[in-house]
């Protein structure tokens, strides 16, 4: 039943893709005007922020099949870079955001170097260690990061003289970052680079034998995922105006990972769904007080049992990349190795 519905929705979407996209974008643009309630907009902002953040993790985990659980570390570097540039050096938000992305991307490259030979759980442990090391550096490098005091008074971004502050306005920054992320990532996934990532995920040896430079592709993958985590971190810092190292613990990393898995790895839309669900559930069950996180956990378990590949996780999803060629590939793989 469900798969039929998905098929039908997909068909309708394909038919009127342009109109639906335009309507969606207009709707997204006027949401803050329809709903000028800053509490609700705050939640929408949190969803959008986590959606892009989970999306950037999905680049690494979902598309090239590496297993990164230290994403909070990249997030931290982006946030701190922006915060330091903005407070200590008085940079404007926009260039600081780009620099934050680039710095994070360079760190992503450095992390990828020793991990090129590692897969699965071994890689996971390295990224876990990396995340903690970064957090402890931020905690102890007092001169630069404020140490345990964190950084406060991060200035709000300005655009043409307008100060963008508060969730109703800030929504647009998160929205634009999210849309840019989806658009650029979609293009990249359909390019040679993106296809090489997917081929590594499916079978690294086979990909190598077909001339894919696996190491270079994996490094690029880490850098690209880290770049967007850095961008999101940079938008996060001036939104909350205060950051401290205890906001970027391993728990945060697991939280992001949970969103990717709930939504569905290897699809562009999955992390968005995952972020919405994870955020909404914890907000909606607020009345349950201390049982809130128990309900959250039970729902995740049920969901994983019901759809282990994630809610919208399937390689044939609309936004999973070049779906036709993928479907074909999946079919041929299934024929060769049998369905697993």
């Amino acid at each position: 039943m469900i798969s039929n519905t998905f098929e039908n929705v997909k068909k309708i979407y394909k038919k009127h893709a342009k109109i639906i996209n335009i309507v969606l974008i207009i709707l997204l643009l006027i949401i803050p005007r329809l709903m000028p309630n800053s509490y609700l907009m705050g939640i929408v902002c949190r969803i959008l922020m986590y959606a892009t953040l989970a999306g950037s993790l999905n680049i690494i985990n979902g598309y090239s099949g590496q297993f990164n659980i230290g994403h909070a570390g990249f997030f931290l570097i982006g946030a701190y870079t922006e915060a330091i540039l903005a407070t200590t050096y008085g940079w404007s938000f926009w260039p600081a955001m780009i620099i934050a992305g680039i710095v994070t991307s360079i760190v992503g490259f450095l992390v990828s170097l020793p991990t090129l030979r590692l897969r699965g759980i071994y890689l996971a442990i390295v990224t876990l260690g990396f995340s903690e090391i970064i957090r402890i550096i931020a905690l102890n490098w007092t001169d630069v990061t404020g140490g345990p005091m964190g950084i406060k008074g991060i200035p709000s971004p300005e655009l043409f003289g307008f100060r963008i502050s508060g969730p109703v306005d800030y929504y647009y920054i998160f929205l634009i970052v999210g849309i840019l992320f989806l658009f650029i990532t979609n293009r990249i996934l359909k390019s040679r680079v993106g296809r090489s990532w997917i081929s590594i995920r499916e079978d690294e040896l086979a990909a190598k034998s077909l001339g894919v430079e696996a190491n270079r592709a994996k490094s690029a993958n880490f850098m690209y995922g880290a770049f967007w985590a850095g961008i999101v971190g940079a938008t996060y810092a001036p939104y909350y105006k205060f950051i401290a190292s205890d906001m970027f613990t391993l728990d945060e990393g697991f939280n992001i990972l949970a969103m990717v898995i709930i939504g569905g790895q290897g699809t562009l839309i999955g992390p968005f769904v995952g972020a919405s669900i994870a955020t909404l559930i914890s907000e909606v069950f607020r009345f349950a007080s201390q049982y809130r996180m128990v309900i959250y956990a039970i729902l995740i378990i049920v969901m994983m049992w019901w759809r282990p590949q994630g809610l919208v996780g399937a390689y044939d999803s609309i936004l999973a990349g070049d779906d036709k060629s993928l479907k074909k590939r999946k079919k041929s793989i299934t024929q060769k190795v049998g369905d697993n």
Partner: protein, 387 residues
């Protein structure tokens, strides 16, 4: 099976969403209602859950007592507890929710400095008081005029510790310092070091550790090499107990002093004989002789199921502080009037001692010197020990 499950799941999610809608704050004003409503921000779940529980119980206790005696000018106090999970992102969202609803007169909380500081710009812009019992970050209360904290500034306790406890009382000469590296520990340490320089106290070694550390042996060996006669431990109760035990295992004979844990029973329960003769400073102390405070502690124990520390005690005081401020208001009771009267409040004495805010919105407390003898805290000095 799958079909049914999927239907159930959809129904659950939809009801959840609808429930969320109905919970959405109504923006209609209700300033004339016959209750005073305060929002309590506390980490009911997450890493700080034990403190959140203490907050919830202590503030409710205060509200119940006040309501039993007729409330504030005949109006009852209603507390609404919000779980912030110790996560600044959640608490910022909740802050927005509170600012959009005129019902709430003031916010009590949040527990951690990170949360309180993430809330500060939002609540300050909306003009609603955030009265934190425990946020100890030195910059927090100064963030805007609506922010208050009653934990006590570290430029009060740390100098007291150096001048009076270590030198005047204990007569220490060479001191080794170990502190926890978080916002509280760092600012206590900085203030402590400033004072030792002024006093000319000889600090032979200074070490810090990250929260969650369990094995201090290598750290202690390092400090031992510098040969101090007294150790100054700037940290919470659990860590003091761990260090006391490990000092004993090393067979090291050194005087122990602690800044931070207050008179937490945990120290004695966890370290027993190893903390005999430990000296510490505390802003308040509950003895059986002080009947009122003793009754409070017993009542808290029966409600919460664990011994009170300093955290619930200060949380308890916040409710009475707000009551005192509201009683002083002459005209309409508004959020701004609450802030005004809280700032000007004079002569308030709570469970944890006298409270009077300075200009930035926090307080400097006075301290007692305590010593552990035969597994009990013994008060050694009065508040007038400072000359």
């Amino acid at each position: 099976m799958r079909k049914y499950l999927s239907i159930i799941m959809t129904v659950v999610l939809l009801t959840a969403l609808l429930a969320g809608c109905s919970n959405a704050p109504d923006s209609g004003g209700s300033g004339d209602s016959d209750v005073y409503k305060f929002a309590v921000f506390a980490p009911i779940t997450g890493n700080y859950a034990e403190y959140g529980k203490g907050f919830e119980v202590a503030t409710q206790m205060a509200a119940d007592e006040i309501n039993a005696e007729g409330g504030i000018d005949g109006k009852e106090i209603v507390l609404e507890v919000f779980d912030t999970k110790g996560d600044p992102k959640e608490s910022a969202d909740i802050s927005r929710r509170v600012t959009e609803n005129d019902e709430y007169l003031a916010v009590i909380g949040d527990f951690s400095s990170s949360n309180a500081m993430a809330n500060a710009p939002i609540l300050g812009e909306a003009g609603i008081v955030q009265l934190s019992p425990t946020a100890s970050h030195t910059d927090y209360a100064g963030m805007n005029e609506y922010m208050f904290s009653i934990m006590g500034r570290q430029d009060g306790e740390a100098p007291f510790f150096s001048t009076y406890l270590l030198q005047k009382y204990a007569g220490a000469e060479d001191v080794g310092v170990i502190y926890i590296n978080n916002d509280w520990g760092k600012s206590a340490y900085d203030n402590f070091m400033l004072q030792t320089e002024k006093d000319g106290l000889n600090v032979v070694s200074e070490e810090n550790y990250v929260e969650g550390e369990k094995d201090f042996t290598s750290l202690l060996t390092k400090v031992r090499d510098s040969n101090p006669d007294t150790l100054a431990l700037i940290m919470h109760a659990n860590d003091v107990a761990l260090i006391a035990n490990q000092v004993n295992q090393l067979g090291w004979d050194v005087n122990l002093t602690a800044l931070g844990p207050g008179t937490s029973m945990q120290i004695i329960e966890l370290a027993g004989e190893n903390v005999e003769r430990l000296l510490l400073s505390t802003p308040f102390f509950i003895t059986e002789e002080n009947e009122e405070a003793w009754a409070w502690s017993e009542e808290f124990k029966s409600r919460a199921g664990f011994e009170p520390t300093v955290h619930p005690a200060v949380a308890y005081d916040t409710v009475y502080l707000l009551k005192a401020a509201i009683e002083n208001i002459e005209g309409d009771v508004t959020r701004d009037a609450v802030r005004e009267e809280l700032q000007n409040l004079d002569g308030f004495v709570g469970l944890t001692g006298p409270i009077k805010f300075n200009e930035s919105g926090d307080i400097t407390r006075k301290y007692l010197i305590m010593e552990i003898e035969d597994g009990k805290f013994i008060q050694k000095t009065e508040f007038d020990y400072v000359d």
